[in-house]
Symmetry: C2
Subunit: 628 residues, 2 copies
Amino acid sequence: MSSTIVHPAPESLWGKVSRLLLGRALRNDQLAEEKFTTFWGLPILSSDPISSVAYASEEILYVLIPVIGLLAYTQMFHIALAIVALLFILVFSYRQTIDAYPCGGGSYIVAHDNLGEIPGLTAAATLSIDYILTVAVSVAAGTAAITSAIPELLVHRVPIALFFILILTMGNLRGIKDSSRMFGLPTYAFIISMLIMIVYGIYKVHVGGFIPQTVPQMPVVAGEITFFLILRAFAAGCTALTGVEAVSNAIPNFKQPCQTKAKSVLAWLSLIVLVIFGGTSYLATLYHALPNPDSTVVAQIAGQVFGDSPMYYIVQFTTALILVMAANTAYTDFPLLMSLLAKDSYVPRQFAHRGGRLNFSNGIDFLGLAAAVLVIIFDGETHLLLPLYAVGVFASFTLSQSGMWWRWVKNKTPGWKHKAAINGFGAMVTFFTVLIIGATKFMSGAWIVCLLVPIFIYGMLKVKSHYVMVAEQLSLPLSEKAAELAGNEKQEKHIIIPLASLNRASFKALWYAKRLAGYSSIRAFHVAVDEDAAVKLRQKWADFNLEIPLIIRVSPYRDTIAPLLDYVRDEERTFGQGDLIAVVIPQFVVQKWWHNLLHNQTSYFIRSRLMKDPRIAIVTVPYPLREK
Amino acid sequence: MSSTIVHPAPESLWGKVSRLLLGRALRNDQLAEEKFTTFWGLPILSSDPISSVAYASEEILYVLIPVIGLLAYTQMFHIALAIVALLFILVFSYRQTIDAYPCGGGSYIVAHDNLGEIPGLTAAATLSIDYILTVAVSVAAGTAAITSAIPELLVHRVPIALFFILILTMGNLRGIKDSSRMFGLPTYAFIISMLIMIVYGIYKVHVGGFIPQTVPQMPVVAGEITFFLILRAFAAGCTALTGVEAVSNAIPNFKQPCQTKAKSVLAWLSLIVLVIFGGTSYLATLYHALPNPDSTVVAQIAGQVFGDSPMYYIVQFTTALILVMAANTAYTDFPLLMSLLAKDSYVPRQFAHRGGRLNFSNGIDFLGLAAAVLVIIFDGETHLLLPLYAVGVFASFTLSQSGMWWRWVKNKTPGWKHKAAINGFGAMVTFFTVLIIGATKFMSGAWIVCLLVPIFIYGMLKVKSHYVMVAEQLSLPLSEKAAELAGNEKQEKHIIIPLASLNRASFKALWYAKRLAGYSSIRAFHVAVDEDAAVKLRQKWADFNLEIPLIIRVSPYRDTIAPLLDYVRDEERTFGQGDLIAVVIPQFVVQKWWHNLLHNQTSYFIRSRLMKDPRIAIVTVPYPLREK
């Protein structure tokens, strides 16, 4: 009686185009094959923090140099050490999170689970905003790297940035494994070229005896080294840590054993950041790099280390590339976050559906679209986007750490004091960082984020309450079965057939309606523009001897839908309480989509208006036209 | 049994907003009240040619001065006389057209009627392009007049131009009479201020003894007065005649007797153009106005005539205003042309429907939108738009005149030789003008028009052939009645109910399907994502004891629509040749539009795919959710 058949997907023209661009659709049981190994997971999930290294030391110098001049180099080194220390705290803390949440432990889950709904949604809102900003900022920065090299392209920066977003979106739509190859290589290329630069740079001075550029005369600055200054510089350097979240969020994307693989990626990540961030900070001190708008700190170091050799251009090129690729972290993480929110009913369910290539294609599309809108609104200017950035990441860090801290304090599992101390310290440090970033950047753009977060939270709560309401109204307990199935046997059936004119399509509908056995009344209904038209139709009706009563109403306002709805409502009053009404709508169907533009979509509007009435069923009788 | 009831339109929230902005909906029998008198028809239909006067003499001088220097003033006067003569030829010719075509005789009708389909569509295509350009050019020029006065606004010229387009569109959507008041007054203000300037300007020199500015030293030019030069200047000045078409196209918009009123508007129009064009040309000679980019010829004259008095600013302001208002001619004429094309099935039928305010609202909306797109593409620059302009008008003039000429030659009605001579001469002159404008402006933009015209014609022919095809397939001759009505009595009915899950909405559909009496088979159908889900649903189905067989197919590609379509197709093969299939679709209905974003629109896609099968009727059983 019932059969279970595994069935291949059919292929339309759109299907062919999409397969060509995005790859062949994958079956559910192919899901396991698409997951990360440690080797490919590392570059995918860590391109964001690793790429931040490219500008983190520069950001610190930007804060320090104008105030304390040459003393900045000493201080920078201390601050860099502090940031690396914080990184290790975060890594230890997130190792604990990975153990506690083997199915993925992003800030949203940890905060929601331990602190409640509102902190969870706050983390979700700040994170989503930050992922969108990551894409917009990274792509804009990557574009800026290119337009600095080729200034003629400056006026085309928005189309170039949009093109990068398109490439990223399509690459990610192709699927997890393919995109890990595609996006993993540039990260490794960047790491290797940075390592070469650090090793050769140190060798060149200490062994080769190269004398770096002297520092140009510095404006006399005698600012004090205040605690606040150090904190500001520290906050500026913290951009190096923005992507740590990604790894613990993406645990389900790893091959089994996924927790072990995730932890080892985290360990490698911290090691790489330590070496590259420490190394470039040391080189900056060694080579007296000074931040300026025309040339980045990394570019100044590379220029002295490699001169005008190809290696200089390779460093520049891989830096530009990894900036764009950093956006890819968001493409891996944002759709995952959205799918979690969708499963909890906080965002539209469509975000939880896997597309033909087994990824969360709706999340990928949405991210690409939102980032493109940001790039257009902010005219592709990195400077305008940056102040909105980073507040969100550290707010979600704080929420996640607090959640873990509270978890240990509450559960008191073995060794909880030690673990709570790590998470509690992390929460405190990140919380202060949020305050500092928020305070220094509020007027220049962070207020937009502070405004958007509550709006997002409100929206997510509204969506949730809608889904709860729908589920309540649709749920069907077994106990109600008897009453529901019996129905009201005294119900009558009434049929109404609205007609625009008397043609083959409406004729078919009339004929079909008459075959719907068991009705107690049947009426055709027409809205005429004037009395003449009404008389003509009535004559034709009589000629055809149609045996169905015809009701005509004249609408002097040229509106055909409202009179029909009024007629149906009038008739309903004369029917019995539980009676059913079938509205039989004739509809001729064109073969090509653009043909629809040539016809009124009246039947569509009629249908959507009638559907609000629980007593009405709508019977659409299609009359497909042949292709010519 | 059948009743005819006049019914008031209902009012939704959107209805209230739209009434506030656009005025109350009008009844069909109010149509007569909305038509033009001569007094209000004149400014509405002639703002285009009258406003052209503001720059026609300037255009002539631009061509002549660089070649022949001071001799230009003498030649300009001759050319102005020739243009006025051409205007009189056109007026005489169009009086003949009005007599021959009392229901409106635009180029499209005249060319279509006398020369055939392709010439008619050519006229229609050139005219529609020109109407859209009229709006874009006039609005851009009007904006330029404002931004010249207030240079700070220059960067905002696109939003300002779009705002003007919005105002024009809304004003025209309000209806004919209202808009005639709103747009008629500026034309009269312009006419009056120009008359004052001409009379006082002549008085000031000849009676008051004012000595105008001397001509600054002229670069030594010794160009020859060639025939070609004169023709080019003549063509440049012909912009003064671009709007004559409007009157004969708009005959049905006049009150009865409409032909008399239209002819008298044409007579007044030619008189006003004669006086203002002749007057400003004479003043330009008298006051030695020199065309230059900073100050228009009219502005130079007004500056000398009125000094720095308020009257100077009034002339400038009314000039700016009438330039924007000139766009209004297109708003009156384009929707009419489109409605004619729609009645002949060359463009979508919707263009022939009168909106709530009795005007062709779709044509008005389309014109506004198309002009806005042009303004955005060409960045609000008049110079970039001008080369596309005027070719179209004169091409349609030529087609219309040739049509009239052929009509006289063919029909040989009394006095045909005289009439044919007038139209034939007009056709020749306008044809040469087309050649000249086309040749001089081809590279700078006229090629776009030459490319668009055949594309438009192709499109219109495709639309026509679609409507013909639909009409053929839908037409229902009385002779077929018996055969159609009988139907195939051996047909069986089969019911298929696709279900996403077992909830109240699908339960209602199942229950409804069972009440569709007389079926010979009934099946519920479900697509499961995997075997587990299939087993679960089958258990629940058994618990509810639903008495309807359940078919489950597993789709490993997460696609639910294709397996359903395949199932229906498979089943169809087992049914009899003429059997009918009712697909009963359960659909829960949300109360607010945005709730639809939260749910898959699967049933919509299922419906639109199933509708291509003539044996399937789709029964939608709505389950409206309550508002909470």
